[in-house]
Every structure is written in structure tokens, then in C-alpha cells.
């Protein structure tokens, strides 16, 4: 990988990656910046040893998401030990249910399919039709999945009321 290629990838992906992560961190700027930075550093190590993936942004998003999940899980353990929970999570977006870190962690703790559909709908702002197309299922199936995912999430977060996202 040449330096120019590396910088081009960065310039093309930094804004979508930041947006992707910002939505999941509830708009927490410091946390988002840290995770984006860490994702690129991991990409540099990995891509230098192997090769640049076909879709660099997808790779970066997956890594950034995993970093965030690891971070939140660690924080949860710390909270159980008595530490302040998500000290940075009470930022500008904390009013929105789906813009809280606790909510994101709850979403990721659902099954893979439910988490995916909730993230696509609420965090990435995809429509039912777009999700159906991406997952190669019917729109009705997407709606069913979304409904069940919300119910599961509700059982995990009884005080929260998931709403938002795009409706067709």
C-alpha cells in the first residue's frame, strides 16, 4: 500500500466513518474521534501486513463498531464495580433514546439479525425498502423483524421507548 493510496482512503472514508460512529456514540465527539482514530491505526497495521480490503469503509465500520462495543462492555463492568457509568455519554445527543451509548450496547446485545436491522433503521437511517434490498428479504419481513427487535430491546430497556428512524 502506497502512502498516497493510504491517504486517499482516509480522505474518502473519514467523514462517513465519523458519521457512522457518531450516531452510535450518541454524538459523543471525544469518544467518536478516539474510536475513528483507533480504527485507522488498526487499519494501517492490518493493511500493511496483508492488503487493503475491497471495501475499506465496510472494514473500518466493522472495526470501529467492535471497538465501541468493547469499550462499552468494559465500561459496564466498571459501572458494576462502582465507577461512574458512561461519563461522556451525557452529551448533546443524550436526549434521544437511540443516541445513548446504553441503548447502543443494548442493541448490540440482541441477536445479530435484530441488531443489524435496528442499526440500519435507527442509526444508519435506511428505509424499510433499502433494508429489504440490502438483506434480500421482503419489506414485510423487515417490518416484522423491526417489530420483534423493538420488543426485545424494550424488554432489555423497560424505561426506554425506541422510536425514530425512517418510515416508508
Amino acid at each position: 500500500m502506497l502512502e498516497q493510496e493510504w491517504l486517499n482512503i482516509y480522505r474518502e472514508t473519514v467523514r462517513p466513518l465519523y458519521g457512522y460512529m457518531g450516531k452510535r456514540t450518541g454524538g459523543n465527539q471525544a469518544l467518536t474521534e478516539d474510536i475513528v482514530q483507533e480504527s485507522y491505526l488498526r487499519a494501517l497495521d492490518h493493511w500493511n501486513l496483508k492488503s487493503v480490503p475491497d471495501i475499506p469503509l465496510a472494514w473500518l465500520k466493522r472495526v470501529a463498531r467492535n471497538i465501541l462495543i468493547d469499550y462499552l462492555r468494559q465500561k459496564k463492568w466498571d459501572a458494576k464495580a462502582g465507577a461512574e457509568i458512561y461519563p461522556d455519554a451525557r452529551g448533546e445527543g443524550s436526549e434521544d433514546t437511540f443516541e445513548s451509548l446504553e441503548m447502543f450496547l443494548a442493541v448490540t446485545s440482541l441477536g445479530r439479525k435484530k441488531a443489524r436491522i435496528l442499526e440500519a433503521f435507527y442509526y444508519d437511517g435506511l428505509s424499510v425498502r433499502e433494508i429489504a434490498s440490502e438483506m434480500a428479504i421482503s419489506e414485510r419481513a423487515v417490518e416484522g423483524l423491526l417489530r420483534r427487535a423493538r420488543q426485545s430491546l424494550k424488554s432489555l430497556l423497560p424505561d426506554s421507548t425506541p422510536n425514530g428512524g425512517k418510515n416508508d
Binding site: L7, Y18, G22, T32, E33, V36, Q37, Y40, G93, G165
Partner: protein, 307 residues
């Protein structure tokens, strides 16, 4: 989800700079594909060590190849010598057998047959010497060494073995010279030959005896060296002394012989049997022999002082 999540411009710029720096740093330390990155110092030390080891290995390999090549060449050379000596021995044996048959039937003199028999023995000794050389070359990888301070090879003292063969060889010469002397005496007694032949043979016998004495001294010296009683330097001086003493004896024998010849020549010249020129030639030969005798005596004297 109506918010836009845009990164801060300064963050994007700073991260780009950091990632560019990280990229350069990573690629400076990056090893070749498929290899493990190691510190430069280690690489340098390894390279230097590698070059040195490669150099030593190359020298050793070159030495080995050269030594191996030299050994093969030497074995081939001495091996050929052995084959020639074998062929020579066979040929001499055949000649001796024919001569014996002829002598028994009275077609040739017994002395001639005797000479050929001695020739067979000398050829056999020659072959023994060559076989000894071959064994030494195989053991050492180099040409046979005759120095008294040469090392013992594979538990065998090739130097002494060769010297013993030399004594046997000279003893065969003495046997032959003894026969010739007896024959010459008979001829002189009956007046067929002059006393000059006798003197010449006697001089040769004296020289051979001196050679045997010198060889025995060398064997003794060699034995002392192998036993660690004398140093290589002492061996060298002792060896030179033995050769110098042999040369002295030979020179003395030659001078004695020439003096006798000159006396006879002068007597014959006085009665007009030979020309003055022949006497002059003998005188010059005697002068040269006496000069050699002086030199030999001087060498013995000098070596004796060093000793």
C-alpha cells in the same frame, strides 16, 4: 436521527497528519514481505557476522577444495609412480630370470646374472619406497616429506621407514661394488686391468659406506626427535652435520683415489706411457677434489660450533 455527524475540520487534518506519519514510521521499520521486522542494529550486526562467517566459510571451502584437489593430484602422481615401479620390477625380474638361464648354460658370465639379480632387489626396494610414499600421501594429503622434523603421520614414521629402505638400497650397491672389486682384483692380478679401476671402485665403496653411516645417524636423530629428546632446530643442525660428514668422507675418498691415480699417472708419464696432458688433467681434478674436501671440512667445523 436528523442530526448530521460531521467531524471537526481540525480533527480530520490532525488525524491525516498523524496517519501519514504512522505510515512512514511503519514502512521504515517494515521488513521485506514474508519476513519479520527486526531492529536495524540487529540487522547490521547480523549482516557483519554473516559476511565474516561467509568469508571464513569461503576460505575454509577454498582451502578444502584446494587441499582436496592437491591430495587427489598427489595421490594420482604417486599412484602412477607405483604402477611404473611395479612394471619396472616385473621387467627386471624377467631379465634376471633370462640372465640366470643364460648364465647356467654358460652363455654369459655369472657376474652379469648377479648384477641383474641385484637390480631386481633394487627395483623391489624402489617399489617399496613408492608404496610408502603413497601411504604417506593418503595419510597427510601432501607430498612425502623427508625432513627429519616432519610429523609422524597416522602413527607411522615414514621418514625413518624411507631411510631404512635407503640403507638397504645402498647395501645392494655395496654388494655389487664388492663383486666388481673382486673381479677387478683378479684382473689386476693377471695383469689385464690397471690398478685405477680398483681405486675407483674402492672410492665408490667408501662413499657408499659413508652414506650408510650418514643414514644411520639420521635414523638415530629422527628417533630422538620423535621421542621428543631433541628440538626441530637441533634435528636440522644434526641432519646437516650428518650430510656434511658424509660429504667430507666422500671428498676424502675422492682425494685419496685421485692422489693414487696421479702417482701412477706421473710414473707412467715418466716412462712415456701416457702424455703429460693426462697427468695434468688428473692434477686439476685432484685440486678440485681437495678444494671440495676443504669446503666439506669447513662445513663440518661450522656446524660443530653451532651444535
Amino acid at each position: 436521527m436528523t442530526k448530521t455527524y460531521e467531524p471537526d475540520g481540525r480533527f480530520v487534518e490532525r488525524l491525516e497528519w498523524q496517519l501519514a506519519s504512522e505510515y512512514r514510521r511503519a514502512n521504515r521499520l517494515k521488513a521485506a514481505p514474508g519476513k519479520v521486522a527486526v531492529p536495524r542494529r540487529m540487522v547490521a550486526v547480523t549482516l557483519v557476522a554473516g559476511v565474516l562467517l561467509a568469508g571464513v566459510a569461503a576460505i575454509k571451502a577454498a582451502d578444502y577444495i584446494r587441499d582436496s584437489w592437491r591430495k587427489s593430484l598427489e595421490i594420482a602422481r604417486v599412484g602412477t609412480e607405483v604402477q611404473l615401479k611395479k612394471a619396472h620390477l616385473e621387467s627386471t625380474r624377467e631379465m634376471a630370470a633370462r640372465a640366470e638361464t643364460l648364465a647356467s648354460s654358460g652363455l654369459i658370465r655369472e657376474e652379469e646374472s648377479q648384477v641383474l639379480k641385484l637390480g631386481v632387489e633394487k627395483a623391489a626396494l624402489d617399489l617399496d619406497r613408492s608404496l610408502l610414499n603413497l601411504d604417506e600421501v593418503k595419510a597427510s594429503g601432501v607430498a612425502p616429506r623427508d625432513e627429519l622434523y616432519a610429523p609422524v603421520m597416522g602413527g607411522r614414521d615414514f621418514v625413518s621407514e624411507r631411510l631404512k629402505i635407503r640403507i638397504k638400497d645402498v647395501e645392494r650397491d655395496l654388494e655389487l661394488l664388492g663383486s666388481r672389486l673382486d673381479r677387478a682384483k683378479q684382473l689386476v692380478e693377471v695383469g689385464v686391468a690397471s690398478g685405477e679401476e680398483l681405486d675407483r671402485i674402492q672410492a665408490e665403496i667408501a662413499a657408499r659406506k659413508a652414506m650408510i653411516d650418514e643414514t644411520r645417524k639420521r635414523i638415530d636423530l629422527r628417533k630422538r626427535y620423535v621421542a621428543g629428546e631433541v628440538t626441530a632446530q637441533e634435528v636440522e643442525i644434526g641432519d646437516r652435520m650428518a650430510v656434511a660428514e658424509k660429504n667430507l668422507h666422500e671428498a676424502q675418498a675422492r682425494v685419496d683415489s685421485l692422489m693414487k691415480q696421479l702417482e701412477r699417472s706421473q710414473a707412467q708419464e715418466a716412462v712415456g706411457m701416457i702424455s703429460p696432458r693426462e697427468t695434468s688433467q688428473l692434477r686439476y681434478a685432484l685440486d678440485a677434489a681437495q678444494a671440495e674436501l676443504k669446503l666439506a671440512a669447513l662445513e663440518v667445523d661450522v656446524l660443530g660450533r653451532i651444535k
